[in-house]
């Protein structure tokens, strides 16, 4: 889901930096108001978990690979705004140090994975777990459903961003300038692989960690 440099036009890349700017500012304000010092190690843990879980490339036999993100999990531990900061830092390190995701696409990648994903996942989780006990099975299942849907909404946006490129930008001879695949290919490809496989990995990973934390220290989860 890490869009590399060159797949989005500089305008599209810039547009998402512009969208992310106020969101990053809002996140730092909310976190400054709500984050307690004793939560800082969990903030560091969440970002580390997000970083490392993305190194586990899961294959579709004979096809492409993908991975979990752990973004809904981060949001359930810290709230979606703090999760946004944690995931942003992981994505920036991945782009700058490891070339995973382009530097012109950091805004777009953060929009998809650090904003859309944790917010969608978190609020779906809150809705389904409403009124349940911290250590209830319903809450763990809610985290899995939130994680599954959250990563799929993010995958849809990623596919959409890829897919509008050939529509907006092409050379005089009709050849694409950036991502050559349109909405009819990019959206089903991105969404399909997450509906079929990577979303389930995200759900299982989230479920297992939440289930473990429910036994260990249920007050850690929101």
């Amino acid at each position: 889901m890490h869009i590399p440099d060159g797949y989005l036009s500089p305008q599209t890349g810039g547009f998402f930096y512009l969208i992310m700017m106020p969101l990053w500012i809002a996140a730092s304000r909310v976190v400054k108001k709500t984050l307690k010092i004793r939560q800082v190690p969990y903030l560091a843990f969440s970002a580390s978990f997000v970083f490392i879980i993305m190194m586990f490339n899961i294959p579709i036999p004979g096809g492409s690979t993908g991975h979990a993100v752990g973004g809904t999990l981060a949001a359930i531990l810290l709230g979606p705004w703090a999760a946004m900061i944690a995931i942003t830092v992981a994505l920036v390190v991945q782009a700058l140090l490891f070339g995973d995701g382009g530097i012109t696409a950091i805004g777009a990648n953060c929009f998809n994975m650090a904003f859309v994903l944790p917010f969608a996942g978190y609020y779906i989780y809150r809705l389904i777990s409403m009124g349940s006990a911290k250590n209830s099975m319903r809450r763990a299942v809610a985290s899995a459903i939130g994680a599954y849907l959250g990563i799929n909404v993010a995958a849809f946006f990623t596919g959409f961003e890829f897919g509008i490129q050939p529509l907006l930008y092409h050379a005089a001879d009709g050849k694409a300038l950036y991502c050559p695949y349109g909405l009819n290919i990019a959206v089903p490809a991105m969404l399909g692989e997450h509906i079929l496989l990577f979303g389930w990995i995200e759900a299982v990973v989230t479920f297992l960690v939440i289930r473990y934390l429910q036994k260990e220290d249920p007050n850690l989860i929101l």
Binding site: R38, P59, L177, L213
Partner: protein, 101 residues
């Protein structure tokens, strides 16, 4: 053992297991991620390299491209390096933003 220590232990275990992220795709004959092909791979897919993609794709030369996934050991080293850097950055952010109770 405190919960947070157990969670860091989980990260350490995951770091050692990261080569699975190389081994499994090889085992199941899977390629890279969708939409993350190199300019050359793109030529193989659509018959040409989109001009803008060619120009922008070499914009940034990452010091450790692709997490040094050419060897399993260096992949683990990348995991440790990445986690350490990310954790330090978040501890700094947390120190700056977090408040005492």
């Amino acid at each position: 053992m405190k919960t947070i220590s157990k969670l860091w232990l989980l990260i350490a275990i995951l770091a050692v297991l990261t080569p699975l992220g190389i081994i499994l795709p090889e085992l199941f004959k899977a390629g890279g991620a969708w939409g993350e092909w190199s300019a050359e791979e793109m030529r193989g897919l659509v018959g040409y390299i989109p001009k803008g993609l060619e120009r922008l794709s070499s914009l940034w030369n990452a010091p450790i491209p692709d997490y040094a996934s050419n060897s399993k050991i260096s992949y683990i080293v990348s995991a440790v390096l990445g986690v350490t850097l990310v954790a330090i950055l978040l501890f700094l952010v947390g120190k700056f933003l977090g408040k005492k109770e």
